[in-house]
Amino acid sequence: MTAIPEPRPDNNALERLRVLISLGEAVEKLVRLQQVLGRQRLFVDAREQGSGYAGVIDPLLLVLNGQAETLGRNSARISSLIRGEALDEEQRIALAGIIQAVINVVLTLHELLVLLPREAPEPQVFRVLRDCFKGEWQSTSVIMTNALSSYEYRIEDVLEKLEDIGQHELTRYKGLLKGFTRAGSVLAQAFVDRSNPLAWPVLAHEYGHALDEARGISRQLVYGSEAADRSSNKEFLVKWVSEVFADFVAARVLGPASQIPFLLLEMTRPSLPRGLEEVRSHPPASLRLTLVREYLKHLDVATDEFDGVFAVYEFDYARKLVALDSAEREAKDQREEPIGTFLRSNFATIASAVDSLGLRSFGQQQLENAKELEKKLQLDLPISSLRYTKDDQILSELNSLIGSKSAPERVYEVLSNFNETPATSSEILTAGWLYKLASYEEHLKESFSAATSPTSASLSGYGDYLARTDELLLRSIELAAVHIAIVQG
């Protein structure tokens, strides 16, 4: 049965966090889009003054600036929310609606970026994927695209999504591509996530699909020795299993942080998908999270640091369920129960299939390392490596040599304790998420400081925070790769 959240003090705290997370997503998507368009504007101006592209970029920027202004107009209310001050009911629900409206606008505008020249993905994307997938990684393209068609792993699926938005002519190109797609996968990444390594776990999920499809793992699991029939109802089971398989792959290589981008995306949806819309292709998102958490337990990875976000997501899901009418909710329960039973009964088989892949597994040690790395991020330092011997210990050993009659070689022995080890991509991304979850609220507070002005916000301040976090993570990934190359000679 559906658990309906009741108005309790802890629910008020969850509601506040839920709105804060939505606000963080709205501001982040908005400023990242502004950055993408700003880069495009520079590019266009540098190449050709008065180029026609400016005619596409400028109206989009204008709308985004309007949304920034709307948030700024509400800065006193937002500031109160962040500070945990009481807002009356009307202002509280109006504010949540305003944030949702901004998210709706920004996500829709993102779709229009397909009108602009494409940028190449950051090279660090490939470093992360190679590091996570080890011997299982086959050279795969990553293309930048709109949000609707992003996070697909086959060019056919990208084209299918474009058909959804009216590009019907593409059907014949799908036919042409049939032969090509056998040769490999194409991972599609949203423009807005180009420089944001914290969004890249989604690519690990998509590459999990590519591995699955290449080996027919989910299909084999559903059909067994029976011949596959692509027109049968079992194809739904294949889709559901493949999603859980890909979720487990992402969790195995990146740990609990692999789930955060999905959950934030789900939380920006104003409501739950109605009818059969979701289950045609995906198991219910809440069930997926439950299964991934069980899988992380199976990997002996604690999720304590991320349980707060999981709780907010579950609260958000529960309140969206409440908003469905009772008939729809009952139908949803009836639909989802057998899906849950089916997937739970296959949990061990799916987990075993993922475990048998030659992936770099995320374990509790990686989580502990990530916590250490997060401390360096707080000091605004890159996190490309870990040192197991502490500064204090090295200093004390060096001090003990002062005035002693030790041989000079002894100094080098002590200095050999500068035993820096390159961090893995999964540790860097996890540390990044730990840092972000611990710091975004403070930066939102600064951006919406009512003391400065009740009707304006410094969204560029939040943009600077995001850009600096991106920069530190990108450099860390790059430096870790250089470090490994040096160590390996």
Binding site: N74, Q91, A96, I98, A101, V105, L148, A246, S271, P273
Partner: protein
């Protein structure tokens, strides 16, 4: 694909809703609040109501129409009933906004609450 495709709301309506909600929240905090910005934002709300009212008329909710039906609708008989008569909630909110713009009366808290709930539902937000 990582997740099911999210439905996309009409971008222009969301822009208008964000604006009018801001004005209504200001008025909920202080029913005497007034500024040029509030006036513009309330006008956005009027535009919203007119757009929503029009697009939810019976002809529009009936689904796609062929050319013949479309041409038939141009005939005077099919245009007799005002399209927005079927959206009373929308009309109530539009009436409130009109009064607020005319500054003919002070809004009641319950009216503002109803209007806010109307717009948040429209942007897909579920309310409290």
């Amino acid at each position: 694909m990582a997740t099911a495709t999210a439905p996309r709301n009409d971008v222009h309506l969301s822009i208008l809703a964000g604006r009018v909600l801001t004005a209504l929240a200001d008025l909920a905090a202080d029913s005497d609040a007034w500024s040029e910005r509030i006036r513009e934002e309330l006008e956005s709300g009027m535009e919203y109501c007119q757009a929503v009212g029009a697009c939810r008329a019976p002809a529009a909710v009936a689904g796609p129409v062929d050319l013949e039906q479309a041409v038939r609708r141009l005939a005077p008989d099919d245009n007799q009933q005002p399209a927005r008569a079927v959206v009373p909630e929308c009309l109530d909110v539009e009436g409130l906004l009109r009064d607020l713009l005319a500054r003919s009366r002070r809004p009641e808290p319950a009216e503002l609450r109803a209007a806010i709930k109307f717009f948040i539902k429209e942007v897909g937000y579920l309310g409290s």
